[in-house]
Subunit: 378 residues, 2 copies
C-alpha cells in the first residue's frame, strides 16, 4: 500500500512534525488543505496551486455527487484526472453539506434523505453510498458519513447523533473493507470522525468506539461551528489524547489564522477551511500584521504590497491601491489575486509552523499570531 504516516518529531507542546504519504505524493504535516469544493479552488488554476506549494486539496463529495456526478468522474478516470490535479486529494463524506446546504433533510437509521439545493431532486445518502461515491472519485483520503448537529446541542440530541454516527462508521468501514477484499488493495485511506458535540464523555465514547474500527486516521468533527475557541481547544485536546499517536489527526473545518498553531500544539496534523478563499473573495486579506480589509478608502493611494513581509507573486507585483481598485470595480481579477495571496498566507503559516516545531518555538509563533490577530473580523 502506497500510504504511510511518519512522525519525525513531537515537540514539548505535543505538536507533531511528520509526513503523510499517498499514491499522489507525500505531504509535510501538519498541513492545511485549501478547499476545492466543485473540483476547483475558486479563483486558482491547478498550476497556480502547484506554484503555491499546495500538496493536498479538499474536494466536496456532496457537490461533486450532485454535479457533475461521481459516476461521470469515475468514467473519466477519477477526480485527479478529471481536474488535472496530480497531487493528493481528500474528500469529505458529504454529510456536512447535506446538513448545511440541502433541503428537507430527513435522518433515519439508514442514512439521510435530502433534496438537492441545485434542482430539488431527492437523494438518499447512506454510509455505504458516501463511501462508494468517494471510491468513484478516487480521492486519496475519504471520510466516513457522520451526523452533524447544531451547536449548542442538547445532550439527548448529541447522544442520538453519536449513536448513529458510530453505527454509520461501522457500516462505512465494513463496506470499504468489503470493496478492498473484493477488488484488492484500494488506493484510498478511509478516516473515521469523532463526534459528541461538546460533551467530554460522549467524545470519549465516540473515540473508543471508532478506535475499534481501526481507521488509519481519525478526524474530529462537529467543532468550530460557533462555540468559543477555548472550548474548541478543550474538546480537541480531550479527543486528541485518546487517538493513536501513530496515526494522523484531522481537525475538520478550521481555522482562523491565529488559531492554526493552537490546534497544531494540541497534536493536530491536518486542517481545512474555506476561510482563506472565501475571505479573499470578500476582500479580506491576511497579512503578517493582521487582516487588511482592502476595500477601505485608506488603501486607495497605497503603493505598498498587501504584506511587506510576503513573498507571493501578488505581493511582489501589485499594490494595495490596485487591489482596492479591482475590488471596487468588481473585477474577476480581484478574486484571483486576493485568493492567491490568502492561500499563500495559509500555506506559509504551515511552513512556519513546521519549522517552529523543528526549532521548538511553536508557542512563541502562536503568541505572535494571536497578538497580530487580536481583534477584527474573521
Amino acid at each position: 500500500m502506497n500510504f504511510s504516516f511518519e512522525i519525525a518529531k513531537t515537540d514539548a507542546t505535543g505538536a507533531r512534525r511528520g509526513k503523510l504519504t499517498t499514491p499522489h505524493g507525500s505531504i509535510a504535516t501538519p498541513f492545511f488543505m485549501p478547499v476545492g469544493t466543485a473540483a476547483t479552488v475558486k479563483g486558482l488554476t491547478q498550476g497556480a496551486l502547484e506554484d503555491l506549494g499546495a500538496e493536498i486539496i479538499l474536494a466536496n463529495t456532496y457537490h461533486l455527487y450532485l454535479r457533475p456526478g461521481h459516476e461521470l468522474i469515475r468514467r473519466l478516470g477519477g477526480l485527479h484526472r478529471f481536474m488535472s490535479w496530480p497531487r493528493a486529494i481528500l474528500t469529505d463524506s458529504g454529510g456536512f453539506q447535506v446538513f448545511s446546504l440541502a433541503q428537507l433533510r430527513k435522518i433515519t437509521e439508514d442514512g439521510v434523505r435530502f433534496r438537492s439545493h441545485l434542482d430539488g431532486s431527492e437523494h438518499l445518502l447512506t454510509p455505504e453510498k458516501a463511501a462508494e461515491i468517494q471510491l468513484a472519485l478516487g480521492s486519496d483520503i475519504a471520510m466516513v458519513l457522520d451526523e452533524c448537529i447544531e451547536t449548542p446541542a442538547p445532550r439527548d440530541a448529541a447522544e442520538a447523533a453519536l449513536r448513529r454516527t458510530t453505527a454509520w462508521a461501522r457500516r462505512a468501514r465494513a463496506f470499504f473493507l468489503a470493496c478492498a477484499s473484493r477488488n484488492g488493495e484500494l488506493a484510498q485511506w478511509q478516516f473515521g470522525i469523532v463526534q459528541g458535540a461538546t460533551f467530554a464523555d460522549l467524545r470519549r465514547e465516540s473515540a473508543r468506539q471508532l478506535l475499534e474500527l481501526d481507521f488509519p486516521g481519525y478526524a474530529i468533527g462537529g467543532l468550530a461551528v460557533g462555540e468559543p475557541h477555548a472550548m474548541t481547544c478543550e474538546v480537541t485536546q480531550e479527543v486528541a489524547a485518546l487517538l493513536p499517536k501513530d496515526r494522523p489527526r484531522y481537525l475538520m473545518g478550521v481555522g482562523r489564522p491565529e488559531q492554526i498553531a493552537d490546534y497544531v500544539a494540541l497534536g493536530i496534523d491536518m486542517m481545512d477551511c474555506v476561510l482563506p478563499t472565501r475571505a479573499a473573495r470578500h476582500a479580506c486579506l491576511y497579512t503578517s500584521q493582521g487582516r487588511v480589509l482592502i476595500k477601505n478608502a485608506r488603501y486607495a493611494q497605497d503603493l505598498g504590497p498587501i504584506d511587506g513581509e510576503c513573498s507571493c507573486a501578488v505581493c511582489r507585483r501589485y499594490s494595495r491601491a490596485y487591489l482596492r481598485h479591482l475590488f471596487a470595480a468588481g473585477e474577476i481579477t480581484a478574486a484571483i489575486l486576493a485568493t492567491h495571496h490568502n492561500v499563500h498566507f495559509y500555506l506559509d503559516i504551515m511552513r512556519q509552523i513546521r519549522e517552529a516545531i523543528e526549532f521548538g518555538n511553536l508557542a512563541k509563533f502562536s503568541s505572535a499570531m494571536h497578538a497580530r490577530y487580536a481583534a477584527g473580523p474573521a
Copy 2:
C-alpha cells in the same frame, strides 16, 4: 522620441508586416489588443498576459476616468505602474463608452455632457479633457475624442457628427501639441480617428481633414457596429487607401476570428475587440476548427482538449469535460481558463497572420478561417 513605425514587408494583398516601437517595448504588427477595460483584462493576471505574449493591451479612458480616476492614477505614477504592466498600452478617448454606456448624453460643439453609469454623477468630456485624461494615464498611444453615431445613420446626422469630429480632432491635436511644447517631448503618440459612417465621400473628407493635422497614426472608427462585414471591408479599403503608407492604421473594435485576416489584407495594422474575453466568459471558445460552445451536453464526457491544435496552457492541461463542468457550476475558474484560451487563440491568429504575410499566403489563411467559421454565433 522613443516611437517609430517600420514596415518590413507589404504583400500582394496590401497586408503589411511591421513593427511599432513605444517607450514600453516594440510590438510586431499587425497586432490585436486584448481589452483591459478597467486596468485589467478580465480573468487574466498581468503575468498570464505576459506568458501569452501580449505586447500591448487597450484600456478604457471612460472607465478609468470614472473609477479610480485619472488624477489618482497620475499621482500613483501612471497606468503602467498602477496596474504593473510594463508593456505598451493604448487608451481610447472615452467617446465610444460615453455614447454606449453613459446616461442622459447631450452633445454640444464643446463636447459631450453625460451622467456616469456608476453613480449618476454629471461630467463633461471635451476633446481637451479626453487628451488630458490620457496624458494623466500615461498610455503609449492616445486617441482623439470623436462622435460615435448609430448605424445605419441618416446622411445629415453623419455629416453633423463628422463636422464635430473634425473640429474636436483639431482641438485635441492643438491641446496635445501645446502640452508637448510646454513640457518637452511627450511619451505618448496621439492618433486621429476617421469617421463618416458608411458614406464614401464623408469618409474621404474626414481622412483629408485629419491628414492635415499630421497624426503619427490613424484609426478608422464607427465600423463593425452592426453593418454587414462586406460593407465594413468596403469602407475600410476606401479609407486605408487614403491614409499615409508609413503610418500605422488602426481599425477600432474588430473583429471576429475569421474577419481579422480580411482587415489585415486591407492594410490594417492594429485591432482590438472585447470578443475573445467576453465570449470566453459566456462559454464560447474559439478553436482552429471553429467555435466550441462548451456548455453543450455533448462535451460532458469529452476528455479531449478545447482545441487539439492549440498549444496554450489550458489545452495542454484540461479537458472539455472539465471546462464544461466549471461553467455548469458557475465557477470563477471557468472564466479564467476560457479567457486564457481565447486570448491565446487571438494572439496566435496574429502570429499566423504575420507569418502568412512573410510567406505570401495570407489569402489562403483567410479562406481557411472563413471555412471554419462559416456559421454559428459570434
